[in-house]
Symmetry: C2
Subunit: 230 residues, 2 copies
DNA sequence: ATTTCTGCAATACGCTGTATCGCAACAGTA
DNA sequence: TACTGTTGCGATACAGCGTATTGCAGAAAT
């Protein structure tokens, strides 16, 4: 019985874990958006059959949850600035930047409660930045209000960005004259105010308008933190 | 050639239009969520083959666009109150109420720019409520900031609502003790601030917290409208 | 050496969005 | 009235999806 007679041992399947699965899924999503993420394709990237994944997750939705939490790790600030306002600003901008890197996050933000360890760590940091500046309920309201703004603003920004990419027109051009639908609608005269805004408004870059709206909201929070619980 | 010999004339297919298609789709979504909307099921409700729909829409995404615009018709206020603040408040609450009636709207809000006639009419009304109170850019920023808040807050509310429905636990119970995952995480001591908020915070009903956050944002807007363009 | 257990792969099912194709009924013309 | 062109519908088809089920091979346990 020489070596040559004996068959090679069967190749054991590559070991898997959630980390590798999530990384593969994120890579797919970064390349082709959320809709490019299918359990079959994720598994294929890992040289596995689709059903293998069900040992690690029990539903596709859970995979999305893991992906989101993985990005929250990028959002978690490395060091916490002292000022509450700066802390919230940093959180907002880190969230925005992470979403620009992983645009599919815009589709998932706010879709389900985020209970992963990284998301909770982010919440912890944010809450503790405001802790003690007002009663608990006020602080909670502050954080929720700011993060509602963040979610909504980011979603709109990504939606516009995709629309521009799909039509090849900048938001401005597309409204002003090039977008046949919109210009036709405006020409009806049924939307005089809207028409004025479209034609006479200034184009502002996305980051600035995000930051400005954020500052307004932070001003509102500041006012509530200043005065004691209503 | 008696009547009996002649066959009945072939039944002509029921005439279709976008209105009927969208109504059927909305009915399906109201009953079973967005994922219950398939072109086949919509068509079946109308006694038609799936491919028939492609005469009226060219993609499922377009059907969603039509559905959203249909709901914007419910959001459009019947009469415009004079005060800008009241106008924005009404807009926010009508949007929220519409989303509570059609919870799938939460999945679509902010996903794509809304360019349908009803959405534009809503924008027109909103913009004109603020028109003249500040320069165009400030007004635009105000409307966008408020609507970012609205989108984000509604999404979170619906997300929580769905989580409660899925687990059978109220948000509070679910965090406090009943949710095994969350309580285990809090017990690790890695999230002290979060733990305090969960345990000592008051439960506030969704409508109140929506309204409160909204008021804060409106306060911020008021401050910017008061002073001339920065 | 034999049995039990574990976990992977293959197969399968019902469903999806949509491209293609052939035909039947209408409109227009001779 | 006969014919022809066009339109739009239905059927068929395809590739892909999430996931339930099944069977089997290797590892572990006796």
């Amino acid at each position: 019985m020489t070596v040559w007679d004996r068959p090679e041992p069967p190749t054991r399947p590559v070991p898997l874990d959630r980390e590798r699965i999530v990384a593969a899924a994120i890579a797919l999503a970064d390349e082709g958006g959320l809709e490019a993420v299918s359990l079959r394709k994720v598994a294929a990237r890992l040289d596995a059959g689709p059903m293998r994944l069900y040992g690690y997750i029990s539903t596709k939705e859970e995979l999305f949850d893991l992906m989101v939490d993985e990005v929250y790790a990028e959002i978690l600030p490395e060091e916490q600035p002292g000022d509450w306002r700066e802390a919230l600003r940093v959180h907002a901008h880190r969230t925005r930047q992470a979403t620009l890197r992983h645009q599919w996050l815009a589709d998932l933000l706010g879709r389900r409660p985020s209970l992963g360890p990284n998301a909770m760590a982010v919440t912890e940091v944010t809450l503790s930045a405001l802790d003690g500046l007002a009663d608990l309920d006020t602080v909670m309201r502050a954080v929720e209000t700011v993060s509602a703004y963040i979610t909504g603003a980011i979603r709109r920004e990504i939606a516009n960005l995709r629309a521009e990419r799909a039509t090849g027109l900048s938001r401005r051009d597309w409204q002003r004259a090039s977008g046949p639908h919109v210009s036709r609608m405006l020409a009806t005269g049924r939307f005089p105010a809207l028409a004025r805004f479209v034609h006479e408004g200034t184009e502002v870059d996305a980051e600035t308008s995000f930051a400005t709206g954020l500052d307004w909201v932070l001003d509102a929070v500041a006012a509530k933190l200043a005065r004691p619980p209503a």
